[in-house]
């Protein structure tokens, strides 16, 4: 579905990604883990077209993404839930979700998806008319994920949804993401620093360090790798 091939990106004069290759197949749950500054967010931004690539290729459903205007990606069915939530602070919760449904697919499915979003995150129905900027971090994350779902995506990209959240809230978020994957059949690409929880949910994991993919494989393989056990899971 999503194929990233030998991608290199320079960002502000620095090489942020070198020769990164990643593949997400339809229906998969893929996680990219790695320390701060490894280039995870840059990878997402490049897929979304906000950061230009130096070389390499990205295709989605066989279509080359580099030739496309950044805004076209949402219309193809790629939803990007950005790092730090980035909700529209001056819009109400409901308007935020409506903006998620900006592409045609989202508009067609709007009534259905809104119900679904409210089932997943009942608090958003209660807060529908409140400005999104006045919500707590966890609620804003729910708005951001709901907004992503509203475009009826084929691929949902989540950039550190647990960042800055209380552990209990983060657990809820993970649970919902897993539900979205299992019940709605949405393909998921997740970037996380909570490595244990993230890998547990996923079919396939990648480890990104200082801009290079150092390791990849199914969950079980990664768990057996000494480096992952030591550096990310705190096991020996």
């Amino acid at each position: 579905m999503l194929e990233v091939t030998n991608l290199s990106v320079s960002y502000g004069g620095l090489r942020a990604l070198t020769d990164v290759t990643l593949s997400v197949k339809e229906g998969q749950f893929v996680t990219v883990v790695g320390p701060n500054g490894a280039g995870k967010t840059t990878l997402f931004k490049t897929i979304s077209g906000i950061v230009p690539a130096a070389s390499g290729q990205i295709t989605f459903m066989g279509e080359n993404l580099f030739g496309l205007h950044p805004a076209r990606r949402a219309h193809l069915g790629i939803a990007h839930v950005p790092e730090g939530r980035q909700v529209f602070k001056t819009l109400t919760v409901l308007e935020n979700l409506e903006m998620g449904a900006y592409p045609q697919a989202g508009q067609r499915a709007w009534h259905h998806t809104l119900d679904r979003i409210h089932t997943l995150f009942p608090i958003l129905a209660e807060r529908a008319t409140q400005l999104a900027g006045t919500l707590s971090g966890g609620e804003q994350q729910m708005v951001a994920i709901g907004r992503g779902l509203a475009c009826a995506p084929r691929l949902l990209m989540l950039d550190e949804p647990s960042m800055g959240l209380a552990p209990a809230v983060a657990d809820t978020i993970f649970e919902r993401v897993s539900q979205i994957h299992k019940e709605d059949g949405v393909t998921i690409l997740l970037v996380e620093q909570r490595v244990a929880e993230a890998l547990e949910l996923s079919d396939h994991g990648y480890v990104l360090e200082t801009g290079r993919m150092v390791l990849d494989g199914p969950y079980e393989t990664l768990l057996q790798d000494d480096r992952v056990r030591k550096s990310y899971l705190g096991l020996s």
Partner: protein, 318 residues
């Protein structure tokens, strides 16, 4: 008998304050879109007002294409048509100049592009002023309508005290309110309006939603230009103007927008109304030279007591 004169003066100042205030309100909405919502510093806004006035003038008077409508309807249709003309100009301006110093291109930068916008729009303003001087000449103009010199008399209310409502201003005021309300409804309830607000709020996230922010910004900038131009066309019916008229009004527009609260269209309207109202009423007790000073005394007072503006609301969680 002095009381009668006083009452008459006060009531007439109030009436003038409200009618002129509504037109100022519309003018401020234009800047409210550009500066309040899109956060683009635009010093050329006064010149857009001027262009609105001259567009209307050339459409209506002499051999203008609207001359057949006569002096009663023509000036107001001309004012409304100045909107689309300046809208188109504003879109072009944005495409070739403003887009380079605003929006997604400067979204992450330290000053959000404000330094660039300051210089670029100040330059545009100077070019339009001096270009206007060459094209339109320096003698004061006005879009003549007999309505400007006739009034509806209300009263006598108390003794001989009568309120005179200038017909040209009344009609302009009504048109201003209709245009302002329509724009508000479009921004608040249509998909386009919401996309515009989303793109202004967070251009990166808006792009992730599939909103072409460049296009939306261009439209919003053009709309802001067009709205101010309509206000200009309306003002041209009762005011004499030249190529430098914008200088007087750009300050009024900024104070109106800040007074009403950044980012609120409704606020910009009330801000403009307040400024117009204060300006007219200050004529009661102050010499005309001090009218603009009065505006700023009130401006400073309101900003002192309510820094977020009359309608500003804080969207940040404390």
């Amino acid at each position: 008998m002095d009381l009668e004169v006083l009452i008459e003066n006060v009531l007439n100042a109030l009436a003038a304050g409200i009618t002129i205030g509504c037109i100022y309100g519309l003018m401020c909405i234009g800047l409210g879109l550009i500066f309040g919502i899109m956060k683009i510093v635009n010093f050329a806004q006064g010149e857009l007002l001027m262009l609105g006035m001259f567009s209307s003038l050339y459409l209506v008077t002499g051999g203008g294409i609207l001359a057949f409508m006569g002096p009663y309807i023509g000036p107001f249709v001309g004012a409304l048509l100045a909107g689309p003309i300046v809208f188109a100009g504003g879109c072009l301006l944005h495409k070739f100049l403003i887009a380079r110093v605003s929006g997604l291109r400067t979204a992450g930068s330290l000053d959000e592009g404000h330094f660039g916008q300051l210089i670029v729009t100040l330059g545009i303003s100077l070019i339009l002023q001096n270009g206007g001087l060459i094209l339109f000449g320096s003698s004061p103009m006005t879009v003549r309508t007999p309505l400007a010199s006739s009034a509806i008399e209300v009263g006598p209310i108390y003794g001989d005290a009568t309120v005179f409502l200038n017909k040209a201003r009344m009609i302009s005021c009504a048109i201003a309110i209709i245009v302002a309300v329509s724009l508000y409804l479009v921004l608040e309830y249509t998909r386009m309006g919401k996309a515009l607000r989303a793109a202004a709020d967070n251009p990166t996230a808006a792009t992730y939603m599939g909103i072409d922010t460049d296009k939306v910004y261009r439209l919003a900038f053009g709309l802001g230009c067009g709205i101010t131009a309509i206000a200009g066309g309306l003002m041209a019916t009762y005011l004499s103007f030249g190529p430098f008229v914008g200088l007087d009004y750009v300050i009024i527009m900024y104070s109106g927008v800040v007074l009403g609260g950044m980012g609120s269209i409704l606020g910009a309207f009330w801000g403009g109304l307040t400024v117009g109202f204060v300006q007219q009423c200050s004529a009661l007790i102050l010499p005309p030279q001090l009218q603009n000073a009065a505006i700023f005394v009130v401006f400073l007072l309101i900003v002192l007591l309510r820094p977020q503006g009359l309608f500003g609301r804080s969207a940040e969680r404390a």
